[in-house]
Amino acid sequence: MKHALSGIRVVDLTHYIAGPYCTKLLADYGAEVLKIEKPGQGEGGRGLPPFFADQPGVERSGLFSFLNTNKQDLTLDLKTDRGREIALALVGQADVLVENFRPGVLDRLGFTAEALEQANPHLVHTSISNFGSSGPYRDYRMTDGVAYALGGWTYPMGELDRPPVQPGGAFGQYIAGLYAAIGTLQAVRDRESLNAVQHLEVSIQEALVATTLYDFVAFSYSGFIRQRSGRQFHLGYPNLVTLPCADGYVGIHAGLPHQIYALLKMVGRPDLANDPRFQTVATLGANAQELHAALLPWLKDQKKEDIYHAAQARGIPACPIPSPKEVVEWVHLKERGHFLEIAHPEGGTLKIPGPPFREYGKPLWPLTRAPLLGEHTQEVLGKKLGYAAADVRQLRAEGIV
């Protein structure tokens, strides 16, 4: 599927995670992505850890190197008239513009709706921002922690007698990037029938709210408020739980009654399968602590890998809780060839997760390493806009590229 999107040309004015992940998804499946960065330091994503040997530098971010595979890169000072003209000329030849500037910035740079329409009347314009382009929080600042809080993800997570705890990572930005990539493809499909510039907007807060279900919708139905319930997943399925074992933790996710009975048999307590406390979803919920207590004596002598395979052999959803190291070393992913190795001039051989899906029965395909800052400036300006080497030298001397 490495060429699936090969006809689609994307101008990429994104930075950090959400925007670059959107254009990476398009690029890894074959779209032509031209990433435009500001001359000098490039976009902020070059400053994201982890860094090669923990040493920051423009070409030393491992995360940037992951988020920008299969893209071409040119530098352009969008604050100059000439820089804007060049960018608009590239937009004129493209199908899609993706950006994640704060609301208002694109207008101030001169990329108004009129200018974009004039440059390309069939453009798909994809915007990602923290809170969208309208509403009272429009200009509010956001970190991952604040995104989770306002997206409703943090309140139900953690122990009831402690503060809520944020999920670990930057998931809101990735989820927004995914929504943006999906919307972009849909808009490209609709382009011919619409005959107009299409603008699509993803708010990170809304992307997070749209990926919750158990909280406000459940409240709307029944007035139910899901409270923090520690290592248990609280709502209907009390037996999704994280429990200690001999060498760490396991996820025991026997959600359905028949899975719970198989589990009780596995731990040597088939007698409890007929116990009135463990018969219906409601009674299982009320007696969850007692059920977990019945599992602990068996779990404490078993290793998480062994529990995983023993449970799965009986059709019980269960798993180890792997560390990042154990994920990278997981045999199943190795057999599927999922992690890819890419040579990087400053990072040596970089190991990264591959694209999320593939053709059934086929291996993944190699990805081109993330571009160095401005690596394709000459090539893109020459091929796309007919600039001679001397013209590019002149632009460089003026600090525009």
């Binding site: 943090t154 705890v165 919307g183 406000f216 399925y237």
Partner: protein
């Protein structure tokens, strides 16, 4: 005019149905297939209160959220005539999304090869938890299982504490987005080749990018990350602070030295903020425990939204920790009219998440709430497949199609 896609949705639970729901939001015709003997088990999810009411399977908040903009049929795939009709449907459709394990599809005789024979341009997306190949391809899991196997649970939770599942089974909604993206990429590939394609999506592999920072910290620097609670690796203060009211909390991130200066101004420059070493992130990080206590003392008698507004007006990153009902009444989401009120038979009027992304000039619309069980049997078998009314009645009498599920 681009012809709207026709999608056959042979999925249940959260991930598969939400993937096709998005395609429905975009204007595709999505036909959800359940079976008279096995309804989507998610019709039993999220039910609270009376467990004995009539037609409870039409009252699941979660099922009704991820099945809007679809029509629904109940067709018995274990019956040969049921399988024949399923293939007829595949013949006139573009995409099949299925989340049954590969062995079940083979057993039912509706694996990709069998379906390609009736529709050589079929795009088929299957999404087993661990993918279609590999030593653990038959293993099963819920959203929290795939989340754990992507290493997400292992890096979430309080610092020094046990690993913590993410609050909303992140494996499911993210797999939904990946499956939706896979369906669209699959359509582009089908058009490029002029032939059908079978797409293999592993939930876990689709989740790994979200955990890239932790995974790369290991592959790049051999560092194994652990949970850090509400803290941040470089920013400080960074945490969840108590507020007035029942279980009220505010999340504050001092994201830069400039934000720290603004923060001190908002507080009126109290003495504890004036130490020189606090001017830099490194200095604040070293003093984090003491700073957290000062912040908590300042926030604890204020409303969480008041703290957020005051800090954000001053340019400091903060957000109220919203519970479900607070999301429902959030001023910003309300001003953007993000949540949608949808009236549905047997369930009444409720609020649901709105459309992401928001499209202009052709916004998405709700053209149908989640289908009741077998609601569109007549439309699909009559209007789309052209069966006569007597044939449809015959199918009903043999329970090959039905509007009455067998209850589990």
């Amino acid at each position: 005019m681009t012809k709207p896609l026709r999608i056959v949705d042979l999925t249940n639970g959260w991930a598969g149905p939400m993937a096709t729901c998005l395609l429905g939001d975009f204007g595709a015709q999505v036909i959800k297939v359940e079976s008279p003997s096995h309804m989507d088990w998610w019709r039993g999810s999220g039910l609270q209160g009376s467990p004995d009411g009539p037609k409870l399977y039409e009252q699941s908040p979660t099922f009704n959220t991820v099945n809007r903009n679809k029509i629904g049929i109940a067709l018995e795939l274990t019956h040969p005539r049921g399988r024949e009709l399923f293939k007829e449907l595949i013949r006139v459709s573009d995409v099949l999304v299925a989340n049954y394990p590969p062995r079940i599809l083979r057993k039912l005789g509706i694996d990709f090869d069998a379906l390609l024979a009736v529709n050589p341009k079929l795009v088929m997306v299957t999404l087993p938890a661990f993918g279609n190949t590999g030593p653990e391809s038959e293993y099963v899991g819920f959203g929290c299982t795939t989340e754990a196997m992507a290493g997400i649970t292992g890096v979430s939770g309080y610092a020094g504490g046990p690993p913590q599942m993410v609050s909303n089974a992140i494996g499911d909604p993210v797999s939904a987005l990946n499956a939706c993206f896979a369906s669209l990429v699959g359509m582009f590939e089908q058009e490029r080749r002029g032939a059908g394609i079978s797409v293999d999506l592993s939930h876990v592999e689709g989740l790994l990018p979200l955990n890239a920072e932790a995974l790369l910290d290991y592959t790049v620097n051999d560092r194994v990350q652990e949970p850090i609670g509400n803290r941040h690796r470089t920013m400080a203060p960074h945490g969840c602070y108590p507020c007035a009211g029942d279980d009220g909390w505010v999340f504050i991130s001092i994201a830069s030295d400039a934000e720290w200066e603004k923060f001190c101004q908002v507080l009126g420059q109290p003495a504890w903020t004036q130490k020189e070493e606090l001017a830099t992130a490194v200095g604040r990080k070293a003093a984090e425990n003491a700073l957290d206590e000062h912040l908590a003392a300042w926030t604890k008698d204020q409303e969480h939204t008041a703290v957020m507004e005051q800090l954000q007006q001053a340019g400091v990153t903060a957000g109220a920790v919203l519970s479900g009902p607070e999301v429902m009444s959030d001023a910003h989401l309300a001003a953007r009219e993000f949540l949608l009120a949808i009236d549905r038979e047997e369930a009444g009027m409720h609020l649901y998440p709105g459309f992401v992304p928001a499209f202009h000039p052709k916004p998405s619309e709700v053209h149908h709430p989640a289908p009741c069980f077998g609601e569109h049997n007549a439309k699909v078998f009559g209007d789309i497949l052209g069966l006569a009314e007597e044939e449809i009645q015959q199918l009903e009498s043999e329970r090959i199609i039905s509007q009455e599920p067998v209850l589990p």
